[in-house]
Amino acid sequence: MPVREIIAAICIIIGLLVFLCGTYGVFRLKYVMNKMHAAALGDTMGLFMVVLGLIIMSSNIFVIAKFILIILFFWLTSPIATHMLAKVELLTNKDAEERMKDK
């Protein structure tokens, strides 16, 4: 039993660290494209690791199904939203490529 909890705790802590990196990046990076990249880290990897830890902890099959649905929903919506934001930025900002080079 403790082994399971330790594995779950490690997963959740890794996920939280990824979230920390993402949040730090949102404030540290200056350009919107770089900021979006940092924010997307938390939505994909961070969320996956946290929910994986929760899946390991839970025993009910329906709870596990709900967790998997949460992961699927975020992995479907977050890239689409990021992609649309990036597209609008590229369409409206003329010197987008210049900005991307110097952080």
Binding site: L76, I80, H83, M84, K87, L91
Partner: protein, 306 residues
């Protein structure tokens, strides 16, 4: 008969917000003269409205401060009479809460007690909130809708540019995503609305989820496709029908004493989907109004038409 007609014409133009002009020809011939008269007054610096306003500015300031002070005194006086926050002896903190918790399920039939609170004990308050949403969307509709009277060359040019942009990029990722997501999002919203009296959620949250689904569909598939089934007329009809239904249900409730005396709507077994009297239809009404409002704001602020 002619007097009648002129009265209705006056009323109509007054409602439309125009100046009341019955004899247009006469008005046009005398209008320029009037303008000249005003101009002479402004030049003569006598009896000019602006001068009058400026002379009274001190009075206005004193009056505004006075009125504000009066209101503050009245409000503070009311606050003084209110029971202390967290006072264990006050009625709101023991009797009301205890009664809600003890008799709530029995009286309203709702398992989710927040729904029982906002749609049964305090349904009048929720009715006002739904009306506020409807009025907000009507006000935005009046100000922003692009019709015959609200067009300008610059806006037309911008809209044309936007359409060119929309035609150029194919948005295929968004369209594929929306194809999967929009039905699920709307279905989930409907679930939240229908289970408002059984689980956390209800009209406001479920309605905003449905609105988000509609916005996703509109963003992915274009405004034209959305207009095939959702126009201004649909929005007005749905909102007005929902508000009238709400009003009718609650009027019945108030008419029978607001205490469910002579109450003939069956409450059903608490926990069933079809239970708790009026709470389910009221939730549906609120949800539809909120969804229409969300989508109406999105469409009006982006395209200027629903």
């Amino acid at each position: 008969m002619s007097e009648n007609k002129s009265f209705w014409a006056k009323l109509k133009s007054w409602i439309d917000g125009d100046e009341v002009i019955i004899n247009a020809d006469e008005y046009i011939s005398t209008r320029e003269r009037k303008d000249k008269v005003i101009g002479e007054n402004m030049l003569g610096e006598k009896h000019a409205p602006a001068e009058k306003l400026r002379a009274n500015s001190t009075l206005y300031r004193v009056l505004s401060v006075g009125i504000t002070v009066c209101f503050i005194v009245v409000m503070l006086g009311v606050v003084m009479d209110l029971p202390m926050f967290g006072d264990p002896g006050s009625i709101t903190n023991n009797e009301v809460a205890a009664r809600y918790l003890e008799k709530g399920i029995e009286e309203t039939g709702a398992i989710n007690f927040v729904a029982g609170m906002i749609l049964d004990y305090r349904a009048f308050d929720t009715f006002g909130e739904s009306n506020v949403l409807f009025m907000a969307v009507v006000a935005v509709l009046m100000l922003l809708q692009r019709d015959k009277k609200n067009v300008s060359a610059v806006e037309d040019k911008e809209m044309a540019e936007d359409e060119v942009f929309d035609g150029q990029d194919s948005k295929i990722i968004l369209q594929k995503g929306a194809k999967v997501l929009a039905p699920i999002v709307i279905l989930y919203g409907i679930y939240v609305v229908l289970n408002g009296h059984l689980s956390p959620g209800g009209g406001f949250s479920g309605g905003s989820i449905i609105g988000a689904g509609l916005i996703l569909f509109s963003a992915a598939n274009g405004h034209k496709k959305m207009q095939t089934f959702f126009t201004v007329k649909t929005l007005t009809k749905i909102s007005v029908a929902c508000l009238l239904t709400y009003c009718g249900c609650k009027s019945y409730s108030f008419f029978t004493g607001a205490n469910h005396v002579g109450w003939e709507i069956p409450k059903g077994t608490p926990g069933d989907l079809l239970s708790s009297g009026f709470i389910l239809p009221l939730n549906i009404c609120v949800g539809l109004v909120v969804a229409c409002t969300m989508y109406g704001f999105y469409a009006l602020f982006t395209k200027g038409e629903i």
